[in-house]
Symmetry: none
Subunit: 408 residues, 2 copies
């Protein structure tokens, strides 16, 4: 049997809801870190004072997860696909899709999404791919103009939303669209806007619509220099994947404040749960919606931001903030609780990295590794080992007692 | 190269027998366990007094093996396939095959095997799928009757053996048989016996033979109510796999007392060595047959039974019983000795589980991890890591110095 299908066959779909068991995946974004001279060889997890995690750790199973593969630094898309039980080496999320989803735009099956820039053109030549780096306000104003003037091309509706500075997102919605159209962005200045090319027969209509949009945008923006042209790239469709509910029979609620993570969760079919911005708000959202779902994805962002700023102390504080509210989460009696990150963002690097992410797994069936704390190094010697993130969700289902035996 | 074929290409086939090296895989069934409040956070391996294992552990390499995959709880079939060097996610053993093999029946290539029940029918309707749960004696009597009256259907011989209560095994032996026939068992009461359907053209003859057998059985059993019908399911053929000898050039002897494990060993081409029921008998069988084989699979069952009963103390005693006799095994000077289990059967769960199984590997080339004991938690940090069971056999060959270098 296809190894990825085994779990789908074994999951006790009929028992999940009836059992009332709750499975919770708490993701502290960019949690993992490295010991380094810059942080006196102590990671933020080691620096943080976390009495609640300290109490949980010895009674839990520890390990580390590899987001995508050895040495592979993931973006947020692949990192979350792995946590959601997909092989991020096989499922790709197009640039355009990630962009619009990150803006909180809703994608439907059959839609195409593109990442768009305003640019400055002279004739057909792009003289500045970023249109002199306009303000976000200026961007919003021009996107509004485009949306008013180009609501539709033939039978295809256009939905646009402004981003930061020169960037915006475009969704094409209509019959007969298909991915496989080249970028109109020449990717360097002083080149002409590229004519979109269909790479397959199925993509011909799309190429035609994109081409018409490019031309109309030039007309609409004719008097708007330096924002007098647009460039599209990463024209892509939502991944053709079965949802988490279809694959594993889980009703999934996503509790996240940033549009990117809400968008990623929605791509795999999770419901988006209303929540305020703080960890406390998020845990409250879990408690309030406890009965509506079997599986909860809860996303906390501040650890990653601190990591990208190289602010180890702030990252430790962000971990402590989660630790302080942990009793709220435990009050909801999750049958299985996994605490981890989507990837590492080591402060000494100020970037996402490939380093395996610490993982704590707690359930009545997890065993007790007896490790005193939840840190990178303690996790190295845990009973879960160091494994690819895509196996975490099966492991959580097993720990909930919701997987049948394989073979007799 | 196909990763699974690499070892087959590298193995020094000509040197194995000549070297006189003996490779021994000692499987304590269901060995792995978990720390839990129910056992005061001490696993049976931690509770057991094992002076011989304690002496061996620091001079050995430790690790843990994942029987099938993360979170997957294996039946005995997939668990042993992994230990024998096969990928149990790819090789499936049908229900019928496992049933007859577990009864100690000998399967040959081209045979088909089915799991059979006596049932109670009125007309063609099954009113009790278990025929009122007859005694094992009554089952044996009716199987004898069927065997006498239906020795053959066309050119296909039938071989039957009684099991426990309402269950028995059937082997179909003759030309032109193929798996791909649906169950005649309706899987619920008050349904008619199902007509067997061929799922492929190749299976048409088999469907016809099964159908005739079903009808003849109704005739033969007409006056035997409540055991007046039979139901077949899991009609399957032995897996089409190369034997361990073919793959790795090893002459393999299996020392096991339970029919299931003898059957599984025979499916991969191992010879079945005569043995008495105790661990001492089994180790003596190894010593007596030492010169006849290169690889020995020795299976000890009591650990699993204690685990399924939730009897942690008894499981510890079963481990101690193996430990006490270990010097006998060592007297046979195995070049490589691996001590592990086929899966975990944690006493707090009273079931097979997915938890990685502790592994001790001893050889002149294994290194010495210096870990004080052979326990789950000591194995977490061993030099072998936590890895899929299918890689153990290659590792044992390497530790015997019987694998060539890969590439120049």
């Amino acid at each position: 049997m296809d190894p990825q299908r085994i779990v789908e066959h074994l999951v006790k779909r009929n028992e999940i809801q009836e059992s009332g068991k709750k499975i919770v995946l708490l993701v502290m974004d960019g949690l993992g870190d490295i010991r380094h001279p810059d942080n006196n060889f102590r990671t933020p997890l080691e620096q943080a004072r976390c009495p609640n995690l300290d109490a949980l750790a010895p009674k839990s199973a520890l390990g580390r997860i590899i987001p995508v593969d050895y040495g592979i630094t993931p973006g947020s898309g692949p990192a979350h696909l792995g946590l959601f039980g997909y092989d991020p080496r096989e499922v790709e999320i197009g640039r355009g899709v990630l962009e619009v989803v990150g803006m909180g735009m809703e994608l439907r099956p059959g839609d195409l999404a593109a990442r768009a820039n305003f640019c400055t053109v002279r004739g057909r030549t792009v003289v500045d791919r970023r249109a002199g780096r306009p303000s976000t306000e200026a961007c919003a104003e021009k996107v509004k103009l485009l949306q008013e003037k180009i609501a539709k091309i033939d039978d295809v509706a256009l939905i646009m939303r402004p981003g930061m500075g020169h960037r915006f997102g475009v969704i094409f919605r209509g019959p007969g669209l298909a991915a496989g159209v080249t970028d109109t962005d020449p990717h360097e200045d002083n080149e002409p806007i590229h004519e979109p090319k269909a790479e397959t027969d199925a993509a011909r209509k799309t190429a035609d619509v994109v081409s018409k949009f490019q031309r109309k945008a030039l007309e609409v923006l004719a008097s708007s220099e330096p924002m007098n042209g647009v460039l599209l790239r990463g024209i892509s469709e939502p991944p053709h994947i079965a949802t988490v509910q279809e694959r594993f029979g889980l009703r999934c609620g996503a509790i996240a404040t940033y549009p990117m993570y809400r968008g990623l969760a929605s791509l795999v079919g999770m419901d988006l749960v209303e929540t305020g911005p703080s960890v406390e708000d998020e845990f409250q959202a879990f408690l309030s919606n406890r009965d509506n779902y079997d599986f909860f994805f809860i996303h906390a962002k501040p650890t990653d931001e601190a990591g990208e700023d190289g602010a180890a102390e702030r990252k430790a504080k962000a971990i402590e903030a989660v630790d302080q509210k942990l009793p709220m989460l435990l009050k909801g009696s999750p049958e299985v609780l996994a605490i981890t990150g989507d990837h590492s963002t080591p402060c000494p690097m100020k970037l996402h990295s490939w380093h395996p992410v610490p993982l704590l797994l707690h359930s009545p069936r997890c065993g007790a590794d007896g490790r005193p704390r939840f840190t990178e190094n303690e996790c190295n010697g845990g009973s879960l080992g160091i494994f690819h993130a895509m196996h975490l969700l099966p492991l959580m289902l097993a720990n909930a007692g919701l997987l049948d035996k394989y073979g007799a």
